[in-house]
Symmetry: C2
Subunit: 218 residues, 2 copies
DNA sequence: AGTGCTTAGTGTCTTTTGTACACAAAGTAC
DNA sequence: GTACTTTGTGTACAAAAGACACTAAGCACT
């Protein structure tokens, strides 16, 4: 092996999740580049000379959504020699979680389109992006049960029912109301704000907030 | 950013763990290259043109130990622009677990030395290798509690006490014998072989084996 | 004012899991 | 056969997770 001859590009790909209503969504872009014209993929790009991978992921996220992620974490580096038909590219996948509220997607000329797609409907993505997406989902599920990342998918204040919807969207199954509340309160990571809010023509719900925006293992 | 001008090397670094006696050890090499002469580091190297990262990690492990890892997993990719004084190198860390039994370390001319070092004594490593090592230890602890990776640190058949030593070495604290046994048997991942073996001048112990060499989440 | 509707919010029992703790069993050495 | 060392087990308690039914608070409609 001759190090000086190594010619591998280094990229990052972002799996950007949000929850809208009762469903988990992922941000996809529709490609323009020729053999993959019209195909959907996760947004990504090459890493700059003086950027860390984290920097690059943050930059790409901002380019697509204009926001800073509530949560951004490196997942895994994918390296199959033929994963990219345009040449040897090793790509590090990141997972970003954002609150859908107040996000305006930016349609750039780089892509044919940018949109939120239901996680369950994201099939036939470009490159190895289906594999990356599946990996991200698994990690997301893990975090949900073991850390407090849910805060990054919600606005600063929320009702327990809204929080429950996030859990249900990601787990893909209904939760039992009383046990869910007991579990969340028992983890000691959320606190009541004292305020309550009307979400419809019925009994108002209390607003809660996460005690810390930092990730906490249980 | 001009993709064609990107000039980043891609490497892997291996954190190779084993347990000897009651202690966790990590395989380190002593460097020859000038400004880092004599400094200890984890073995690593550039990725070949047609290799995946997994391939490269497997190759490097074999070059140092001559064995295939019982367990090999990608950990994280480190990318600080100045992490390597010789130039921009992005490195993916891998963790390998091997059974110390029957391993002959290969002293190659590439290094001043190769040796097992107690985990607790591995200070002042080259590059960002202390950070990588700490990351690997955390992951190892997680696997110990949630999967059956301990199998890759032991010979095929072992006594429960030997298994307990592995857990104690990694956790860094003693375990309670009865609870440890109940926990291990309750996970349903080990089975008695029916054989028993003398480990000294006292009551013989039963030999167990892992039911599967595959990693199993609890 | 009263009835019906919808969601918010709580208490208790059961099962499972983890933890603490003490003694009998099976070998060897002398 | 006695002393020694390790193997090997049972039980009680505490904590966490899961199942389950009812009351409370608001609005809409009459």
């Amino acid at each position: 092996m001759h190090p000086s001859t190594q010619n591998i590009k280094v990229a990052v790909d972002n799996v950007i999740f949000t929850v809208i209503g009762n469903k988990l969504f992922v941000l996809l872009i529709q490609m323009k580049k020729k053999p993959l014209e019209g195909v959907w993929a996760m947004p990504g790009g090459l890493v700059g000379e003086k950027e860390t991978l984290d920097d690059a992921a943050t930059r790409i996220l901002r380019e697509e959504t204009g926001v800073k992620a509530g949560f951004l974490e490196q997942l895994h580096t994918f390296s199959a020699p033929k994963r990219d038909p345009f040449g040897r590219v090793v790509s590090t996948a990141y997972m970003a979680l954002v609150s859908a509220e107040g996000i305006k997607l930016r349609t750039t000329s780089k892509y044919m389109g940018v949109d939120w797609m239901p996680y369950a409907g994201a099939k036939k993505l470009a490159y190895d992006h289906n594999q990356i997406l599946a990996y991200a989902k698994t990690r997301l599920e893990w975090h949900l049960e073991h850390t407090n990342i849910a805060w990054s998918l919600l606005p600063r204040e929320f009702t327990l029912t809204e929080l429950q919807r996030v859990y249900e969207a990601i787990r893909g199954r209904k939760a039992e109301k009383r046990n869910f509340r007991k579990m969340m309160l028992g983890r000691d990571i959320i606190a009541s704000t004292g305020k309550s809010v009307m979400r419809g023509a019925w009994r108002p719900a209390q607003l809660y907030r996460f005690k810390s925006g930092d990730r906490v293992a249980k």
